[in-house]
């Protein structure tokens, strides 16, 4: 994107000062204000949480191999799905791409030396960790069984588990998201390199910007809601609990006012990653730049208006239901715009199937499935049948795991050479992508069928005619689990033993690729001047390797 060409040929990683070797020691990491190092702190912590959450999922799927339940008591099963949901949503998926890739890339992509508020950035990591500690404490001290949605009155008078520390943990991490979002908004507004106009920005930046808006406007509402829940439990004053005069439906309204937009917090950054991957590996400029850019903003705005579609059968007027249904259909439009534009970008491109691209192609298929089944749920009549069944579970896993996690892994594989300066074994990476794709579909496609046939979610036992599909799903889950372990192993391996990557192994456009790998602490020797649009692969002189 910039006119400055690269003259940092294969300098061995060890001999040049970069952000990784500029300082050593635990303290230099725990007190760093370098956005790149903070990204790595986040990467390590969310990876840990991912495997903790994954562990509970494995136990659930093992349990469901038998109709009567193979492993645990029903009460324990309730705790398993709750802790899985809470950890995966609030401690893995919400921070995943923004806090790792976003932190690393936002300044680099816009030609800045750091985020606007580096200390705040570090603070947000500590807040995340404190929140995570509260929640892990809840796990150890007996677990929680309310479901990740904390619906009252389950969470107020009926549950005798560690609701308070869990809710506090989620409350606290919320502030980490808010600070991250604030930092991104200010940085993107104020710190773009000369010549980098809004419409020259990489689409990843637009996506992160839209996500940040949701962080800023949505997260405080869930924070206040959880705090009220906390007060209710501690002081025994009715706020949401009907037994003591509260209104449980109001809790659901407030919860989904944040949590529906939050599902877009989880997917929008993935969509941003997608635009980078698709263009690079088909070597074309994006089809319809401004449509893709504005669809991110449209999603962020409309997503605040559709929360009622989670409450079609929970005492909401039929007229409200109708309006929420129509608005939900509308939010599908900008999502579909993106899918069409990526597909159109592929058309007549010179496509190469490197590992990141395999994840990207997987995303297109799986996200489309997830989005289309969302329309089934947004239609009042079909939702009455499908609500509360495994169909829901399949729907959101197709989007959150098939979409967001695929994009996250694709992004990690794409920028790994930049982050670490090393290449990972390509064969293994492609193999893992295929294993994940197969494992994912085997796990979750049967759940669509189960839900359609009427199997409810969140039960520890089921009628025996559902066993075949459940066993298929559990088998898929074990394949998926292995698929996630493979990258963990070879990526860690590559940090030490991988071949040196060079500044731009994919021949990609974008300011981040004009720096050496790993970049120096200040990112750019001199702030670059941008003279071209994003993804100008047609006039590219950069070659791979």
């Amino acid at each position: 994107m910039s006119t400055a060409t690269i003259d940092v040929h294969e300098v061995p990683t060890g001999s040049r000062v970069n952000y990784l070797n500029a300082q050593y020691g635990v303290k230099s990491w725990l007190l760093t204000t370098d956005h790149k190092r903070i990204a790595l702190l986040y990467l390590a912590s969310i990876t840990l949480m991912f495997f903790v959450g994954g562990f509970f999922a494995v136990l659930m799927r093992l349990h469901l191999i038998e109709p009567q339940g193979a492993l645990v008591q029903p009460e324990t099963y309730n705790k398993l799905f709750t802790m899985h949901g809470v950890i995966m949503v609030f401690f893995f998926l919400v921070p995943s791409i923004p806090a790792t890739l976003g932190n690393f890339l936002v300044p680099m992509m816009i030609g800045a030396r750091d985020l606007a508020f580096p200390k705040l950035n570090l603070l947000s990591w500590y807040i995340y960790v404190i929140g995570a500690i509260f929640t892990l404490y809840a796990v150890i001290s007996g677990g929680v069984d309310t479901g990740w949605t904390f619906y009252t009155p389950y969470s107020s008078s009926f549950s005798h588990t560690s609701v308070v520390p869990t809710a506090l943990g989620v409350f606290i991490t919320g502030f980490s998201s808010i600070l991250t979002g604030l930092n991104f908004v200010v940085t993107i507004h104020k710190m773009r390199a000369p010549g980098l106009t809004w419409f020259r920005l990489p689409l990843f930046i637009w996506a992160i910007y839209a996500t940040s808006i949701i962080f800023i406007l949505g997260t405080p509402v869930i924070a206040i809601t959880l705090f009220l829940l906390f007060l209710e439990r501690v002081l025994h004053i009715g706020i949401f609990d009907p037994a003591i005069g509260g209104d449980p439906i109001l809790f659901q309204h407030l919860f989904w006012f944040y949590s529906h937009p939050a599902v877009y917090i989880m997917i929008l950054p993935g969509m941003g990653v997608m635009s980078e991957l698709i263009t690079c590996f088909s070597r074309k400029r994006i089809f319809g730049y401004s449509f893709v850019a504005f669809s991110s903003l449209a999603i962020a705005i409309i997503s605040f208006l559709v929360w009622g579609h989670h409450m079609f059968v929970t005492g909401q007027s039929i007229y409200a239901g109708l309006i929420f249904s129509v608005l939900s259909f509308m939010v599908a439009i900008p999502s579909a715009v993106k899918v069409f534009n990526w597909t159109a970008t592929l058309y007549k491109g010179s496509i190469s199937y490197d590992a990141p691209m395999l994840y990207a192609l997987g995303f297109i298929g799986l996200f489309t499935m997830g989005g289309l089944t969302g329309l089934f749920l947004a239609s009042l009549a079909t939702d009455v049948h499908l609500n509360g069944t495994y169909f829901i579970v399949a729907h959101f896993h197709y989007i959150m795991v098939g979409g967001a996690v695929m994009a996250y892994l694709g992004g990690i594989h794409f920028w790994w050479p930049k982050i670490t300066g090393r290449l990972y074994p390509d064969g293994w990476a492609r193999f893992a992508a295929l294993v994940i794709f197969v494992g994912f579909n085997l796990t979750f496609f049967p759940q669509f069928m189960l839900g359609y046939l009427g199997m409810p979610r969140r039960y520890a036992v089921y009628p025996s005619e559902f066993q075949v599909l459940n066993v298929m799903s559990s088998a898929g889950a074990s394949i998926l689990g292995i698929g996630y372990l493979i990258p963990l192993i070879y990526l860690i391996w590559s940090m030490r033993y991988g071949p040196t990557a060079g500044p731009n192994p994919w021949g990609a456009k974008g300011l981040e690729w004009t720096t050496p790998s790993p970049p120096p602490t200040e990112n750019f020797e001199e702030i670059p001047v941008v003279t071209e649009e994003a993804y100008d692969y047609a006039h590219s002189t950069v070659i791979r390797g």
Binding site: R113, A116, F117, M191, I237, I239, D247, L250, E522
Partner: protein, 227 residues
């Protein structure tokens, strides 16, 4: 970075120049206030929903508050916003002594607000057994319509408590600023910490301007001539 120019005091390395830094600081505060708005907004919305549902209880609760303390505090806070603005103005025209003076006055007014709130109002409520969780006593004269008075007080304490927490943080910030001002850190060219903190202070003030009528005044006392 090879060449480093001599930078003005307070300059942070990630920025290109002082102007960029100033703009980033004030945009950051505005964005933060947006978050705060949604934070209090969620709370206000919940309050309004319950007020509509349980109007009689909320009216009874509202009558039990001491309007004179609330009104006095409103005046104190508005005064503090004025002195805050004057502190910034003195920085703009480069008067160090006035800056420090106005900052200290602002702090004193903030502290006065908290003093009135805690030692008069909250203590009074405690003596009257109106604090949920701490010996709240339902009074027989409220009857059936008063079933939700505890909920009103729960909101009252939560909302004013959250506001007071913001005040305490604000006073802490002011203390730091006072020290900085005393050391002559602010000049007509560089005073953005003052400006940004001023935004925060005014915001906390505005929250109170909403809280006061919502909690104290719209109990129906004046609209319907009292009981």
């Amino acid at each position: 970075m090879a060449i480093h120019h001599a930078h003005p005091p307070g300059f942070a390395h990630q920025f290109e120049d002082m102007q960029q830094q100033r703009e980033a600081g004030s945009l950051g505060m505005w964005v933060f206030l947006l978050t705060e708005m949604m934070f209090f907004g969620g709370l206000f919305a919940t309050y309004i929903v319950y007020r509509a549902l349980y109007l009689p209880s909320f009216e009874i609760g509202s009558h039990l508050l001491e309007v004179r303390f609330g009104a006095l505090n409103t005046a104190v806070l508005i005064g503090s916003s004025l002195t805050m603005a004057l502190a910034i103005h003195s920085a703009q025209i480069g008067k160090r002594g006035a800056q420090v003076g106005f900052l200290i006055t602002t702090m004193i007014l903030g502290a006065a607000f908290l003093f009135i709130k805690f030692t008069f109002e909250w203590r009074h409520d405690y003596v009257e057994h109106l604090v949920p969780g701490f010996g709240f006593a339902i009074r027989p004269e409220w009857g059936a319509p008063g079933a939700h008075v505890p909920m009103f007080f729960c909101f009252y304490f939560f909302m004013t408590g959250l506001h007071a927490l913001h005040m305490i943080i604000g006073i802490g910030i002011l203390a730091v600023l006072t020290v900085m001002a005393h050391r002559g850190r602010f000049t007509p060219q560089y005073y953005s910490p003052l400006e940004v903190s001023g935004l925060y202070w005014h915001f906390v003030d505005i929250v109170w301007i909403f809280l006061f009528p919502l909690l104290y005044l719209i109990g129906g006392r004046y609209l319907r001539g009292g009981h």
